[in-house]
Each structure stands twice: as C-alpha cells, then as structure tokens.
Symmetry: C2
Subunit: 612 residues, 2 copies
C-alpha cells in the first residue's frame, strides 16, 4: 500500500461527510423510506421534510435532483497551481517525497470544510481557489521546517486537521491570487509522546483524531472525554484551533479546560511553548493560542488532561411541556450545583426533527405510542405541539451517578417533566454523530441544512432563542420561501449556556447563498443584541469575521491584530480567518471599513455574482 | 471628617498587618501567654516557638527586642520626592485636590506589600524608594486621565489595591532614580455598577475590598465566594492582578473562573475591554490581563460571576496518620468527582503549628486530650509525631453537602483518618485570617516568618514537598541556624494541587535577608525541578522575576515582553515586576543576563550590602 493511501483524507468523502462507505439514502425498493447509515429504516424523515419545508407533493417531486459532480470533474476545475519554486524545492529537501503533494485529489480534498455552503459549492464544482500544495508533516520538527520556509518565501499556510470545520476556517482565501498556498495536513502527527498516569496528563501530537486519541489512552485505562459532533473525523489540533467543546463538557470541560499546554510554531517569532501546570501563574498564554484558528501559527503538540474510564455511563430522555419549562429546570439544576456530564434540551421544533430522524427502535414506538401521548396530554396537561425532548447523561462512579440522577429527578419532576427512560438516551448516543449525514442527504435532494451556535447569559437566553428564530423566519417570509429552524441548549455554565440552532430549506437556484447570508446576518444581529457571542465551539472562520469589529470593542480587536502582526508579520497564517484585515498606516475608519468589506470572504463565497 | 480620613490606607497598619486596633501580643500580666487578636489566650505558641526555633531559654530571652520605628521616624527617612511638574499640574487639573497626595503618611503607606521582608524593612526604616505621589482615582475615567498623563510625561504608575501583596508587586523600583513614581491607590473605586441576578453576574469597580464586595452582593442575596487569607484587606483589582485564589476555590473557582471580563487602561494602546460571555470565543484576552500585576496597564472594572448564599456551610476537621495518607485520600476524592468547597491538608510540622496557634476552645482541649491521643496511637496506630490535620468545608444545598460528606467519610476512613468534628472546622474559619498577625508578633520578638507556594502535578507533589523542606533545612544547617518549615495542600485540581509552605526562624543581624534569599533560591530550584510553577496565587512580583527566564521557555517569555512593550512602550507600568527587562537591540545573551542580574530587585531589597 502506498503511503498516500494511508492518509486520512483519502478515506473520507471529498464532497460530503464521513467515511466513503457511510451514507443515508432513500431505500432502493420503497422510496417513502430512508435508510440510516446503519441500514436501519427512518420512517419519519420524508414526512417531516414534506411538512416542514414545503408542500409535500412538491417537495417529494424535487428529490434526487441535485447530484454532485464527480471528483474527476472537480479536479478538472482546479486552476493551475501557483508555485513558489524555491519554497517547493526547500520542502522537497526538508521532507520526504510523499509529504509534499500537489496531485488533484490532494488539492481538491483540502479546499473546504464541511458546512452547507462548503459542500454545496464542492458538489457543484464552484472552486475559487484551491491550495497549491498539500504538506503532510509527521513531527513538530517538520512543522518548524515548513513554517520557516514559508516565512522565508512568503507562502501562505493553512493548517488542516480533520477538515470538518463548519465556519470557513480551512478554505484558501480567494484574494490570495499571487502567493502560493500550502494546506498543512497534520493528520500524520498522531502519536502519544508521553503519559503521566498519576497526574492524569498526556502529551500528544495534535493531528490525532478523536477515536485514535481515545484508543491510545484506552490502552492505559483512560480517555479524553471530548465529544464534539465531529469526534470521529476531527482531531486535537482542530479542537484547539476552534476552541471546541464536546457534548460532555459539563463534566470534562471545554477544550481550554482539557488542554494544559500547547506548542505553537510561529513564522515571525519561532516556537512558543506554554508551561504545563494544573493552574497557570502570571499571564496565561495558552488562551490566546487556543481558538486562534491557525492565524498566528501552527500548534504541533499539546499536554492534555486525561480522565479515567467512568465506571457508569447512563443516558436518558425526558420530555418537558415547553422549552421554557426545560430551560428553567436546567437553570435550577445548575444552580443547585448538579452538573450531569451531558445536558441537552431540544425546543419544540428540534424535538419534532429529533423524533423524525429516529430509526425504528423500541424507544420511538414507545414515545410515539398513542397511550403515552394521551397520558401526557390528558394527565400531565402537555400541549403535544410544544413538547421538548431533553437528553441527560451521567458518568462517573455509581454513587455520583445515583446522586445526580436523584437530584435531577426531583428538580425535573417539579418542572412537570416526564422520564422516557434510557431508550431515548441510548438512541441519542447511537445517533449523535449522524446529523451531517442527514445534511448530505438533504443536499442531494434539493434541500439544504446548516447550523450556528452562540453562548449568552441566562437573562438573555430566551430572548435570543425566540429572537433568532423569528428573525430567520422573517427572512424566509420576505423571500417567499419556507424553512425550518430548531434550537437546542447544551453546555451549561453558572452564568449562561450555549444555544445551538439548526435550520433547513429548499434549494432554489444559483443564488441560494444570498438567502443564507440574509439568514446569518439577521440571526447574528439578534445574537449580538442579546449579548450572545459569535460562536460557542465552531471556531471563528470567515463566517464570523465581518462581526469581529462589532463584537469586540476596538481596543481588544486592535490588540489581537497586533498580536497577529507580531507573530505573523507577512500574514501567511490562514489569512482571511479569525481577524479582519488590519488598519494600514494612516488609513481612515471609512477606508478601512471599505477595504475590509471588499476582501471579506463571508458574503462572496458561493454567490456567483460576488466580486472576487 | 476630611476625605483623607476615609481612605482605606489610613485605617490599616503602616508597619504590620490589618486594622490598627488588631494585634496579637504577650499577655500583660503573664508573659508565658499570648493573646489572640480577639483577646482569647493562646497557650501553645511560646512553647512551640521555643521548641521549634531555638533553645527555649535563649528564644525567650530575645522577646520584645525588635520594636518598629515610629511612622514619624519613617516619614523622616523619605527622600524628597522626584517631581514631574507638568504631570503633577495635569493631575491637579484632572482630579480633585484630595485625590492627589504627597504627604509623608500617604507616601510611607504605599511603599511596601506585607511580606516578611517588606515589614522587616518598614519596621527598621530601610526605605530605598517611596512613591513620589499617591493618586486616588474614583472612576474608570479618572484612571484614563492618570494613565494618559503618565504616558505623556513619562511617569511610572504602580497600581495599589489593599497593599497586602507578599511577592513584591507594589514596591517602587529603586532603579527608577529619575522618573516620578505614582502609586495609584484604587480603593475609592468600590462601587457596584450593575447586577444581573438571573445570570448571576455583576459589574464592579475593582478597588472594592472583600467584605465590602460581599456586603454589596449580600443585599441582593449573593456573594462572590473568593476567600484568600488577605480577604479583609485586599480588593478585587489586587486579586485580578495577582491571579488570586481563595480557600473555597474547589467550588467557586480561581479568580480567572470568577471574573468574566475586565476593562484595562493601557498607556500605549488605550482602553481594552474584553467581552462578557459565559464562555469566550476566539482568543481569550482576559487571561493575559489577569495575573499581569499592573505591568501592562491598570484594570478598572470587572464583570464577575456571583454565587447565591449557600443554604448550608459545614467545616470539619480530620486527622490523618501521615501527610502521604491524607494526600492519597485527597487524590482519591478528587478523582471520584467529589469537590468539597475547601480541602486543606497540613503536614506534620504545620499541624503542630496549627495546634500551637489555637486559642483556648473546647476543640483544642478535645484534640489534645490524653484520651484521644491514646485512642489514636493505640487503637488507630497513629505515630503522634506524624499526625496531619485536614480541614474540609462543604457549602451548598443540604443534599449536596450531605452527599459530599458521606462520600468523603467513606474515602477518608479507608485512609485511616479520624474525624475531629466541626470544632476544628469552625476554629479554622474563625482563625483563617490570623496568620499575618502571628507574623507581626514574630517580627516584634526577634523572630520572622514567611510563606511561598506553588502548583505542581500529582506525580511530583510529594517529591516537591519533601524536596523543598529538605532544601530549606539544608540552608539553615549550612548557616548554623535553626528554623521551622511546614506545608499544607489546598486548591485541588484534576491534575495536581497547590503546595503552600510557611517557614520561620530567628532574627540575627542586618544580613538576615541573605538567609531568606538562600532559602528562596534553594526552594525554587526544587520547585522547578519538580515541575512546580513560580506561584499558585500570590502573584509574580520581584520575588519571582529572576526565575521567569527559566520557568518560561524563551519564546513564551519573549512574547510576554513584546506584549508589554506594545501596551506600555515606555515601561511606565510597574517596572521591575512580572517580567525581567527586555533585550535591547543587538544585546547578546550574556550582556542581557548581566544587565538583568544588575537591576533585579530580588536579591537587593533589604540587604544593606546590595548595590542599588
């Protein structure tokens, strides 16, 4: 087997989510059924689509009409690479032959992340700017060589982990029309360097993917405890770059709590290693590197906190009569000092989707049974259109789990909740990584789906929830379109929580992105008004850059821009992401704003009429 | 009452700890007894001193021999202030008359922090460099005016909160022989600006002292939950500058967890406000400002997380047969996911001191009773010379407290611990702020006492504990002196904990500081070898600066130095603290090291022979 075959990016879909052999599709024999990636039947999804996204007969009639181009066609669409010969020569000298790739497949698979816009363009062959070369470092030292050569020869570097980013963090900047762009794929850097079992720390190369990381730790009886939706296909370095957070963050922490120290290679200032300590003294530099999206350098190694495998894992479902009731119960629970590992509340809209996406399992039959419905509506007084699903997970020792469950039960029951047992929890566990496959399914059936999320303080959370949904629906209304938007909360903090929105609509024409932009604009306005931040855990890519000058007070934004200029004086590190262009000497506010508007990728990528 | 009388610094001792009317002293009638600040009798302290610090008769004979000079004498010793007339004129224009003070008392009370070296010099009138003026801002805008004027006129600014710092953070740099130095006393900035009870956040001016902060929050049913030993006399801004941590950090967090956002006024780059969010996105700037010790600007306001007043507060004592046994029990408890609010383990030496410092209360009589001792040694098999006291505190709802207590009991009992009840806990609560009074008592009786602390990973903690104590004792042995050193753990993290050392000896002569330096050097060598950091929560002042180039990898240190140069290009912000001098253009490693050694305050302050 050639080394190329072993590289992660050759094993996953170039134009969709996940492994090449996994997909969700309409049943070959019965077109009213959809088959889950596992082969199980999902009965509810087509009726859900028909009801929520358009007139059923019309929606049905549009299925199977938006196939993807082939990878060969995509490769044909690539522009000839921009080559910086001395850089390439240096790389060929510094690295092994199979670490430097400029074949079509390598380039095509390193253009995009995996959000709706990314895949929509990929499937349609809307390629503006592909990386000119893909570099595959195997060690910190390899990265040092790459960064040094790139700095010397003014070549752009984009770190590329699992490529699952959904906020435009890994895409080449189309305004880079002269400089060579190298995508630095870190997936070969997947080794555990050391482990300290007593202190529960380990040092890893950051290209290690979720399952591999846990497999390496599992041999020693440990795990990491980080479980984002992208877990299977994303890596430690990506989590660090995006300031990621997993479904179990309430117990194991967000990525900044789980990473004790990092090693960063910068073009302007060499290697920066932050110290390892259970708690830092002085200035804590790691917090500038975590969340920096490759814009100040490339992270190569990290010291992480590791967790013992929990003795007990229990996930269960509850139904609340309304989102507000569930929200109040979560707030009470958190305030009482009870932090279950996982705590998710789906609003009425997302609860319906959640039910629709269920495969045929005993749980679904139970929840949807007439008997339960009747009990909830007559005995408990639920309005069945407002029912909200909650998934709660407990991990740890039996006694801790028992205690947390008892406390939860008390509080949830006082908020009129109804326990639907572990079936719902296990079902969530089984399906938690599946939403991207549903998005792929949607894309191939003249539909689309996307997500965004934020964090806000409790006093603003319900206003934000309502406000965002209203604003998004208003966009559809103004455009005469129909769409669906749902929301769930996850990641509970003492002062607030994350609100995660999923939304979907029908594909119409080449200008569909204009609708997406309008939706994102409208939603972000509400988020900012309601003290939400730009993202909770998806990272700051070009999807968020236009709002950076509004979200941050100018002094703070300018400080970040100066840090960037210091560490990356030629702007070779992932330009166009994280931060807007810096002010040029003597540039007026108006001129700066105009220039920023001109080169911001947000409203240009995927819109045929946009000026690039 | 004149406004000056209302200022905090006029109410506390200029040459010792705490309020002017509180002190620990030998009983007027029976010189074998010491009276606690509360007036209660402490019987154990003099015998403890005699046993641990020297031949009893000799030690006793030296009592009462090292009084302090008077404040009038101290004021006489002040050098004439260095005045920058345009700066002073600007300040007099920008601020009210009583906000600009250059009288002797104001200057004398803003020279030092409150460690042994500080008070030793203060009491002996060893004043090298006092601030030339004390400024008393009342608002963020006042601070902006001060910083702008200082930047314009090249005047040094040292933020001064409660003045309780013990690592040399508030002292004027003696190498500042030409520039005017202003101590910026923020204690008038003590207002709550807003509160969001639902989100449990509040915005405060950072000059607010601990009790005042909690009093203002208490009116709304909340508290902050931050309880450092300095609580009564220190303020929010000081806690932020020093990256402080309180006794209840296991439940309420370290200061960086409790502060959501800060507003910083910098000389070079204006105001930097970090965004308020339950969790940050992108680069998290607040972590550079927290712990920066005024070296990049002055923090004026902060958004903090507030906590509901707990329904139950229960503190109790346990005895472990050895430090190792207690350490293992704490480790197990933390790993099991049980985080009592407060968890402290005193080693054998510190346990003896702890008992010696007890006032006459039922607890002491119980613990020291022959019956208990006999039970522990015969039935439990304790070596009574190795017994270690543990203080554990639980706060929260009754059910959470009950659960944590039951879990703790199970684990502690498996480690052969013995519960000595709430008497010990209540006694600790009552006395937790008292150690500095004991230090003052020591200073006035030809003795001295000091502290330092660190954080390390679990696998190194016991080596560090033993290693530091051995190294310190080695210094005394080499110098033919006798001393006492004890240690306790506090602040339990998943990967490690804080180790806090207290040590004491006899005063000998004018060169006593040389012994202190030797002790600190020896201890820090061990700490660094055992992966300890420079401080857990006391902040990085000139006491730690010499080790910064060793603790931080060069890339990280240089980055911090560049941040400093960017925000404070003239080095007017607290020079000599936090960071060593930056490299001059073209300066060699050797020349830099030589220059740094020359101007580092650590080994010069308080040693008569040191070159200043």
């Amino acid at each position: 087997m050639a080394a190329a075959d072993a590289d992660g990016y050759t094993k996953v879909k170039w134009n969709g989510w996940g492994a090449k052999n996994r997909k969700m599709e309409v049943d070959a024999e019965d077109p009213s059924l959809v088959r889950h990636t596992s082969g199980k039947i999902i009965r509810g999804i087509l009726p859900f689509i028909n009801t929520e996204l358009g007139d059923p007969s019309q929606a049905m009639s549009k299925l199977d009409n938006t196939p993807s181009i082939t990878i060969e066609e995509a490769i044909q669409k690539l522009q000839a690479p921009i080559v910086n010969p001395p850089f390439l020569a240096q790389m060929k000298e510094d690295l092994k032959e199979d670490q430097v790739k400029s074949d079509g497949e390598s380039r095509v698979t390193h253009i995009f992340g995996k959000n709706y816009r990314d895949l929509w363009r990929m499937r349609r062959g809307m390629i503006n700017r592909a990386p000119d070369v893909v570099l595959l470092p195997e060690s910190h030292d390899d990265v040092v060589k790459i960064v040094n050569a790139a700095q010397k020869h003014n070549v752009v570097l984009i770190p590329f982990g699992g490529g699952t980013n959904v906020t435009g963090c890994v895409e080449p900047n189309p305004f880079e029309t002269r400089r060579m762009i190298a995508s630095v794929d870190i997936r070969r850097m997947s080794k555990m360097i050391s482990i300290d079992k007593q202190s529960r720390t380990a040092v890893f190369q950051v290209g290690v993917m979720g399952p591999d990381l846990d497999e390496q730790l599992g041999r020693h009886g440990f795990m990491f405890g980080h479980d984002p939706d992208s877990y299977i296909y994303s890596c430690l370095g990506g989590w660090i770059g995006a300031r990621s957070s997993g479904a179990y963050s309430n117990k194991y922490g967000d990525i900044e709590d789980m990473v004790l120290a990092v090693k960063l290679v910068t073009p302007g200032r060499g290697v920066i290693e932050t110290p390892v300590a259970p708690r830092q003294c002085g200035m804590d530099l790691k917090h500038i590197i975590i969340g920096s999206e490759g814009a100040i350098g490339i992270v190569t190694e990290a010291t992480i906190k590791i967790e013992p495998l929990p003795a007990v894992r229990r996930y269960e479902g509850w139904l609340f009569p309304s989102f507000e009731a569930g929200f109040a119960a979560f707030y009470k629970l958190t305030n009482a000092g009870i932090s279950p590992c996982c705590l998710r509340l789906y609003d009425d809209d997302e609860t319906r989707m959640s039910f629709a996406l269920k495969t045929d399992t005993p749980f679904v039959q139970t929840v949807l049974s007439k008997g339960i419905k009747q009990f909830l509506s007559t005995v408990k007084g639920f309005d069945m259109n407002k029912v909200c699903l909650c998934i709660i997970g407990f991990e740890g020792t039996q006694t801790v789990v028992d205690f947390q469950r008892a406390q939860t039960k008390g509080i949830f029951c006082r908020h009129n909740a109804f326990n639907v047992g572990t079936g719902a929890g296990d079902n969530w566990q089984e399906k938690k990584y599946d939403l991207p496959y549903f998005r792929d399914f949607a894309l191939s059936h003249k539909l689309w789906a996307d997500v965004f999320e934020t964090t806000t303080v409790y006093s603003e959370a319900l206003s934000l929830w309502k406000g965002v949904k209203d604003a998004v629906r208003q966009v559809w209304k103004a455009e005469g379109k129909k769409g669906w938007i749902g929301c769930h909360t996850a990641h509970q903090y003492k002062t607030g929580c994350c609100l995660y929105f999923t939304f979907a609509g029908q594909q119409f024409d080449d200008n569909d992105m204009a609708t997406l932009f309008a939706i994102k604009r409208a939603a972000t306005e509400v988020m900012i008004k309601c003290k939400g931040n730009l993202t909770h855990h998806h990272g700051i890519g070009y999807e968020h850059v236009p709002w950076m000058p509004r979200y941050y007070q100018q002094g703070a934004l300018d400080w970040m821009l100066r840090m960037k200029a210091d560490l990356d004086p030629q702007d070779i590190c992932n330009p166009g992401k994280l931060l807007p262009p810096a002010r040029k000497k003597g540039e007026s506010d108006a001129a700066l704003e105009e220039r920023r508007a001109k080169v911001m990728m947000f409203d240009k990528m995927g819109l045929p009429s946009a000026k690039l």
